[in-house]
Symmetry: C2
Subunit: 594 residues, 2 copies
């Protein structure tokens, strides 16, 4: 690594006891300055680390004067001699802890005014941090996050390169196909009235690459979605995108597992056990009430409908009669949580659209529960057996349509894990593939079928007859999500590669033939020229880096993120532009001409 030139001879983490006596030159920022025993000490910091500089007022009075006046984050060039630190003052926690640099001369390369916020403490005001991102990124943790991101990207590339994947850059100036999220648009100047769209994903391009015979493609790709920004969303984000031909789900899963194993080994020195567990969507919902279950803890959901079907609890029986289910979960040892906590769980259930939660506190004196009196001793025994309930447990019940009951208890499950301390601070890494998602879901509000993943997802071959029978809700997709500790890292599917099947799916989704041709004509055309079977996956890089960095927000692993209004407080982007620019694009804004 080339360092030495006229600016400096070493970086700030380079000097050792063996260098004692050498005349050297360092450049760096004042990390800390302290006066002690008539001397001035400065911790000088660059990207690599810290060296202690000592200023001797008697030997180098002018230099010491400058040293005394230094402030945090002043940038200086220091020349001097490497000396061994006096015995007892070594710092074994520092690479350069045995030595210090006795300053002979110092030059202020750039002074720094008082800092808008401290760099060595947590700062809650993120707007301020983003407005001074060039300072915020000087924090050691932020630098480490960017370094971690780089190492993860490198591990991804090394693994996929070795597996014969070809990195191909696909266009950012792309075509609007408003199926998924909202597109960002780019007005064309050369063809007024026309727009490029920024890609939500390179989905169609990578499928075209498969038709082109590329066979194994990847890209660490920038993607864009013009959505209202929630806590952890960014208008632009990065995904590890890959696609391969002549493959089955197992092949894609093999590659993702190998890639993640390499990342964890290279970056965290953690050895992952492969293959990861697989679970169908149905089982994940049934057992954990989530399509991205956190498996760092148990707390299973049970179907207890059969027990309640014979009980006197009419509200539950009514649900069962309408085709619903009764599901239950056991909060081990949580019988004595506060009433307010129980109310919170009930509110949670209602906020999701449920009617509430039934509960049982299993106490030494017996069941304390509003529903106890509707149950026979035999029914209570059956429930206790099914749920493995013993004294001190808290049982919670949801009666509703299957998907809603699952969802409610899935969320309750996470809260119970918080209460029992099994979630926060749990440093296990629990990976899981969730498979066999439904292909289509009926959108009651919009009154039509929508794709659970996207319209290019392939149904199970044996479910294809259901398509002709109009039993759309029963079609299973050859789709798979990769989940880590309850977070969806990414997902993918085997794709449709036949024009006629693709058109059939478009039609079910309510896209008429003309619109199909307008938006997807290129793909349908390609599918008619010997298109290979293919599939792929995409993983969110920002989220993966965040999890590995132990960061609180994806904004902490992105160099220049946008805030919740899609703005960059540092550059002031987006901004007004010159009238001339809009004239050239032949567009006008709503402002002023309303």
């Amino acid at each position: 690594m080339r360092i030495a030139n006229r600016w400096r001879t070493h970086h700030c983490a380079q000097l050792r006891a063996a260098d004692v006596g050498k005349n050297v030159r360092l450049c760096g920022w004042v990390d800390r300055r302290r006066d002690h025993g008539g001397l001035v000490f400065v911790d000088l910091r660059d990207r690599e680390g810290v060296s202690q500089i000592v200023f001797h007022p008697e030997e180098h009075p002018e230099t010491a004067e400058i040293g005394k006046a230094l402030h945090a984050e002043d940038l200086v060039q220091v020349e001097g001699q490497v000396a061994r630190r006096p015995e007892g003052t070594e710092n074994s926690g520092l690479a350069t802890g045995e030595i210090e640099l006795v300053a002979h001369s110092v030059r202020l390369l750039g002074s720094c005014p008082p800092l808008p916020f401290p760099l060595d403490a947590v700062v809650e005001n993120e707007e301020l941090r983003l407005g001074f991102r060039f300072l915020d990124l000087r924090r050691r943790k932020m630098l480490e996050n960017l370094q971690l991101r780089h190492r993860i990207s490198r591990a991804v590339r090394e693994y996929l390169d070795a597996q014969g994947f070809l990195e191909v850059e696909t266009p950012i100036l792309s075509k609007s196909t408003p199926e998924g999220a909202r597109d960002f648009l780019v007005p064309s100047r050369l063809i007024p009235g026309s727009f490029y769209a920024l890609p939500q994903a390179p989905q169609q391009y990578k499928q075209l690459l498969m038709v082109a015979g590329i066979e194994r493609y990847y890209q660490i790709a920038r993607c864009f979605r013009d959505e209202d920004l929630r806590a952890d969303r960014q208008p632009e984000f990065t995904q590890v995108d890959l696609e391969a031909s002549f493959v089955e789900p197992e092949d894609i899963q093999f590659w993702v597992e190998g890639m993640l194993r390499k990342i964890f080994r290279d970056v965290l020195d953690v050895d992952l056990t492969l293959p990861f567990r697989r679970m169908s969507y149905r089982e994940a919902m049934d057992r954990y009430g989530s399509d991205k279950p956190d498996l760092r803890f148990g707390i299973d959901l049970y179907d207890v409908g059969e027990i309640f079907r014979e009980s006197d609890l009419k509200v539950f029986r009514a649900v069962l009669d309408r085709g619903g289910v009764v599901k239950a979960v056991n909060g081990k040892g949580l019988a004595h949580i506060a009433a307010s906590e129980l109310t919170g769980l009930e509110d949670l259930a209602r906020s999701l659209g449920g009617k509430g939660l039934a509960y049982v506190r299993v106490e030494s004196s017996g069941w304390k529960s509003p529903i106890g009196k509707f149950l026979t001793a035999g029914q209570r025994d059956a429930l206790a057996r099914t749920l493995g309930a013993t004294e001190g447990d808290l049982l919670l019940f949801a009666a509703d349509q299957w998907d809603l009951a699952c969802e409610i208890l899935g969320r309750v499950r996470l809260r119970l894990a918080d209460l029992s301390g099994e979630r926060k601070g749990n440093t296990e890494w629990k990976f899981l593939w969730v498979t066999d998602f439904p292909l289509l879901a009926y959108d009651r509000e919009e009154g039509h079928w929508t794709s659970m993943h996207h319209p290019f997802t392939r149904p199970h071959a044996e479910d294809l007859p259901l398509l002709d029978e109009g039993r759309y809700g029963e079609l299973r997709a050859l789709a798979y999500d990769i989940v880590l500790n309850g977070t969806e890292l990414g997902g993918g599917s085997i794709r449709i590669h036949e024009a006629d099947l693709q058109q059939k799916i478009f039609s079910v989704l309510g896209i008429d033939a003309e619109t199909q041709e307008q938006r997807f004509g290129h793909l349908l055309k390609a599918f008619r020229y010997g298109a290979p079977p293919h599939g792929g996956v995409a993983l969110g890089l920002d989220r993966l880096v965040m999890l590995l960095a132990g960061a609180e927000s994806i904004r902490d692993v992105i160099a220049f993120p946008k805030n919740r209004h899609g703005m960059d407080p540092l550059t002031g982007s987006p901004s007004r532009v010159e009238a001339k620019q809009l004239r050239e694009l032949k567009i006008t804004t709503g402002r002023g001409d309303a």
Copy 2:
């Protein structure tokens, strides 16, 4: 590399004599089908290569029937037994040339209609090629271009990683600073009337990263310029972008040279000799009439003003009296080129704004030249000595202001090299650093000073007094271009890192204080917080790949390029969008509301 699954057991370049007797399954496209001696032969192609399939009508009649009906680019799955090719029919030019696959069964995975153009011949109609890019990319050469691009990117990353450069992703949704080329704009929906701009380069972000202490940054970055498209321009392109702190030009040049050496070694197995030659802008213009001279051949330019100053050639003397120059070049052995060729050179000179060219054909009978009669024998001898002219040479003269005379003869020089056969097909790799560009150039049309590189370029320290004296044209920049065989691969500079110097330069460029703050406030702010000295460089990846691939156009090294109208004929991008999309963005287009 994982290949085997239910689709295939091997790829099409994998089988060898050692596999004879094995039952295997291949997938691929029909590259060629021919009937010979009652058998049907198919060259089956996948990304890795080709295997010969043979269909035996007698042993597998049904399979052979399908084989007989196969067309070019049909996609098939073939099962059969590996056999040794009959003696005398081996193909030593093919990895699988010793074997063939005897087809037991075949499955048509996707049939292909008649091709819109042949895949094994040059197709001039690029619009058609782009419209069927998924077929066009199936050509072996196009695949090789994409593979080469990948290997170049990989070499870049490996080198820069090893040199301690940190890969950082900077925003695509960026801020409009309309200094350089025209920006692509992206309307913001959340802040109506505001626009993001797509970055022309990550210039300001990488400078902010230097202020943040990242010290060594790189990115293989997508950049965007909304310019009228010339032959070899794309609205989006990729550059290898890097920046480092505490550096001098030599450091950046060291890294670029090391990177290029690694690329050439890894990709072409060519060993470059380092360091590359360096030449000032002044010398490059003086000697070769270009700031990106092609050094694969000589043909120097000479200043012959002193000789003409004493001559009777009044038009030349008038130019000299006005402060101009007379420059000359010797086309060795080209005395006998056609008159039409000479006319062409004169037209070239005039098209650049010159008044024409004077010429001398040095023949056995003496000088044949319209200007001969104005020269004494001594002047002729002096010219011949200076230009090394001997019988059979063609001497060409331009008299004009220095820069124009240089430019004209620089272009003439290239044409002479074409005529003498020293240019086309010359397979040398001649690298060159051109340094010390003028910092500023006066734009006569616009009536103000402009940056030769960009406004962040640092002037030579010893030239700084000229800035205060208003002698802007004399300022030299700490800028450097890297040139290969007459093509500019990239360029860079040491940057300004002081707010006051940056503001001074902005002012010289005619950017008033308010506009400075609006557009560059973030950079000026950052420069006040201990900004380190820094510099960097950017190399055009598309052009580099094109040169190494020996491709004719950058469109041949980009998977999905735009055509000359900024359009993708395959997807039809840019396109009209739905009225709802524009309403959400609160913009209207000129169409229909004029």
